[in-house]
Symmetry: D2
Subunit: 367 residues, 4 copies
């Protein structure tokens, strides 16, 4: 689709807003009528991305209270467009003179100027991390919808830099006990130490987010271009700072053999099941009833405290110092963004999958 | 987009056909008028995916001669839909009785039955690798178009199972000297030995394809959901057997620090350039003028010669023997599919990027 | 949507082919699996647009036998893309020298040259009436699908030039008794006389097609831009030679008063019904359970036998004589095209309407 | 497209909001960067649809001040999503008890209940005429854009009930001299008298809006489904209360002969021109360089003061009295809505048409 701020076919969202503009928001189209929904449902998910929670996230107190402007009546969605808004509280005219003219390494300043001829340079403008507010607000609706159908999300930090969780120690209850959203207390402790070290060096680190979706019906996704995993890949790589996506065994599958990677089908309680889940819940682009499991790689925060060489828009080589606090790692705050984008993608696919069989369509309309 | 056999917005392709149906084809919509094009242009790319070239690909002589049925007149595209067809020469009614009822591990048999209620079981039907013929035929048009604008593709096998090419030995001239499309003679030799070993064990292996695109204008891709890399990710993961996608430093970026991963901007011959290219040619979802570099992970061929346990559609656990020859690795033949999908994606983005600036639009129409 | 040869969201068709190219065809994506379908189903509708049936249609024996190339297995649709083809039997290289360079009044020759820089001038190329073969073939599938849900189409010629059918004499049984598809024997006779007169004058005439759809469920169509009637309007005006569309009372509604135009709701057999149907079956863009009734205005055939002044592509004013036989009126052959486009539009809307209510979605997936 | 509140491909708008919700708004995606734009530009067009201007429009003082929330920086569009909002000032909880349960004739109450299971009944909810605020705000941007390319709109009331303007007396200067937007002083006087009469009878009337677009480049629109006129038809019929659309000679073309309806090409000042313009500026779905001329039929306002029989949602037949003031005719206020939708459609087509020719694309990118 052109005009890049919309995603989805039947459940479609359109986000808008810049980091230091008046507000940030999203319009959600195609949410079925009759879903119970209020602002608290949205706020809960939004709060999971709020900064200021630890020394690893920026202190700016954003508040970020969401307001629903349309599409909900008597506590239920009406089936028409749901508009949500979060006002920006931090619009003061700072001195952006340095950043306005220079191209920060790892940021989109240069490509925006090349594409559009100029840019809203305040706080990253449209490519700021605040853009994800709209994604998360829309994702909250999708998650609420999917919950009604028994679909659940478990999303967490799998790795911070080189520190990865250990499958044997994995404990999702641990997820909320540490600021890094790691389901492994020991790994979390190591990762915190690693982060402190890098912060002391005025540096930043990357990481990996993993998402597990359970309760998915079989049959979601289309066999050719609209594969479930292809749509997830797009949704994930559309998140700022993401450099990679893999599903199931992922890049490890490339190193494995068919005899080990194939998931053997077995009968269990009268149901067809896979003995293993290297596929990550998708066969031929279509959900197979196992848990959906995928990972997303985030690069290190490009804004670092140490001085960096760069150029400005006048073609001069300069030394850049980025002031202000920046998260040394985006991963813990990105966990909820990954989950939101997954929920948005899956809800859309679930609606689309309702029209795949003649018998079910006849049943539906004959009632 | 629903109805999963189309991809693209301005340059849009729709594929059709099953492995053992009458024919396989593609309809290309949105190709600009006036591009010189003939069947030889298409055949050249199609021949790169043709099997029967080595002991690592199946022997079936497919021929696969493409025919252009519309949209070309006097040797040039007319601006209207280009329909291309390849007749299937191998439609004999074999005995599919075993495969018809059973669910092959790693294949889409089970998910097709769950989604559609039944399936065309002959040779994998719609999820056969022959489906990629339409992609490659359309990709040939996209590549021809992009060549006119100075955009070039170099695509190759980066790894076969655990055997990876060595950056220091990399030599693209070597690409066509070995059956595995590896630009490193030594790695190719090792990979061949590895493959022979696995074939002897009645097993299959996976691998990684890497694609480098040079000459790309700056400014392709949209900042939010329609990022250039997000669209590439979808295009790649939509290829059968793909389990992962990464761009630039990819999953390694997740382990790196900002100071190392940031690409510093420098002036070179009066032009802004990046000193390194960890971004893989994309910043904020928009092409930055460096080479576009991405990798795609393929799982091992699911069809293996050794007996596998599975279940049939009657819910019985059975032992499955898959007869006939199957490629022990899909990667060498998938190289051209990756390139075709990249070309299709980039051509679409290049057309979309023509409308980003008022001054350029006024210029365009005022002439 | 760009790249103009596709229409539809969930049920999506893509047509291709030129009048004198190798073949004409259509790819249908999004047809649910399990619909019984064979070539005879398609041929039946195609035969309704076949020329050579009367003195009012051209004599060229086209044959136009459709072939299904994919998407059907064991007599049922598989849920994947259905490709259909009709070979052109009349590709002889005639002498197109005059027509190649001149701009026929009322045709698209001039606008094609302006848009694309050149054109396939043989027989109208892509804007030939033969382009409708793909529409009708796809429409046959949609009609078969809708029949399973009890939805029926009655489509006929409402007017030929100034000769209109009389509501009091209307008799749909009469439809197949005359070559003009008029459900009024007396009007048909008058219209034939009028046509003969105009043919003698080397002239052509226009007309109006009316379509009535019964058995439509309530709730099809979306309230804002995706209104059922808005989509019908687009589908109709996309047919070559169409200059107007109206639904229900149409342009007459503009002259009426609210007290007369409003359709009063009444109870009938425990069901809500409208006492009249000036709305034509749509309220607020959503089907209301009454018959859908709309009309489409066709201009006179632009190709006429008498000499016409025009210009050629070298900017010279010339006198044009169009040789060969042309239908003096397109309406009788367009009846089935209108019906096909209506069926395609309604099938798409019917699939889309399955996701409007939470309770129905939960029901669907909980089974 | 599903999820009906978006329209357009490259220039795409998404509207949201209900009549008596918190606010009404629109998100505009795909507006090129660098277009000078401020709130005054939007307000000017919005004011043309504001009620309270005459005895023929409702007195409610809406204010309707638009606020731009994103996408504009330093007085110019940035190329990213433009969000605009108008707060509803009239959200008081009136007594909607009667209207909440009953189905007003000619309104969408019944179809909303059937489609969604319930509805926001306050003031028509999503199908209120206030929904057009978003359309007009987006249309103001499109018109500003098109002005830069020399494209101009003249839109007016062609008929009020049976009172039509006279071509011989037509004077566009007159347009702003009367409350009915009629470019014919005499017709306006007659129409006012007619309206007063119908108001006295507690009745309402319909009418016709005509739009003329000059300065359009040749080559806009695609030959098959995405014809310029097909997209205009959809845009127009998507406006509430519209029952018909025609272009050029429209329904009169159906009564005419080819010899009279064909527009003969002539040379004028070295340019190809049509001697007449029965085509209304479109040949084969593509703009031909003449003025684009089309008409849209509006039904009478369904809300009338006299008592009407109807049913309620409990299946009881009742007598309905609609309280409050309602416009006896929507046409004068709809003029600007027609213009806005035309501008939105044409801007999208103009951007799409930039990619039709190889030579122009090479020129564009080689610079």
């Amino acid at each position: 689709m052109a005009a890049g701020s919309s995603i989805g076919t039947l459940f479609k969202i359109t986000t808008w807003g810049e980091s230091h503009g008046k507000a940030i928001g999203v319009v959600v189209d195609g949410c079925p009528a009759g879903l119970a929904l209020n602002e608290e449902d949205i706020q809960k998910l939004l709060d999971r991305r709020k900064p200021g929670q630890s020394k690893f996230t920026t202190r700016r107190n954003e508040g970020d209270q969401v307001e629903i402007l349309s599409g909900v009546f008597d506590g239920k969605t009406t089936g028409t467009t749901i508009s949500m808004i979060v006002w920006n509280q931090d619009q003061r005219s700072r001195d952006y003179s340095q950043i306005a003219d220079c191209y920060r390494p790892g940021h989109a300043d240069y490509t925006f100027d090349e594409k559009y001829g100029f840019r809203d340079y305040r706080g990253g403008g449209r490519s700021s991390a605040r853009e994800t507010i709209g994604r998360v607000a829309a994702g909250a609706i999708a998650e609420k919808f999917l919950e009604e159908l028994g679909i659940r999300f478990t999303t967490y930090t799998r790795a911070i830099g080189p520190v990865e969780i250990d499958a044997d120690r994995m404990d999702t209850a641990e997820l909320n006990n540490n600021k890094l959203c790691m389901p492994d207390a020991e790994a979390a402790k190591k990762a915190e130490a690693y982060l402190e070290e890098k912060m002391a060096e005025q540096d930043s680190v990357g990481g990996v987010v993993e998402c597990v979706v359970s309760g998915l019906p079989k049959g979601l996704g289309e066999p050719v271009f609209e594969k479930l995993d292809a749509n997830l890949a797009k949704a994930m790589v559309s998140i700022g700072a993401v450099k990679g996506f893999e599903i199931g065994a992922g890049f490890d599958a490339a190193k494995s053999c068919g005899s080990g990677n194939n998931d053997v089908f077995r009968m269990k309680g009268g149901q067809v099941e896979k003995a293993t889940n290297h596929s990550g819940g998708v066969l031929g682009g279509i959900s197979d009833g196992s848990d959906l499991i995928f990972r997303t790689a985030f690069k290190p925060t490009p804004s670092i405290a140490r001085t960096q060489p760069t150029v400005n828009r006048f073609g001069e080589e300069i030394d850049l110092e980025i002031h202000g606090r920046h998260d040394p790692v985006v991963v813990p705050r990105a966990v909820v963004v990954v989950e939101a984008m997954a929920a948005i993608t899956i809800m859309d696919q679930l609606l689309l999958a309702m029209t795949s069989r003649m018998d079910r369509i006849v049943d539906f309309w004959k009632k």
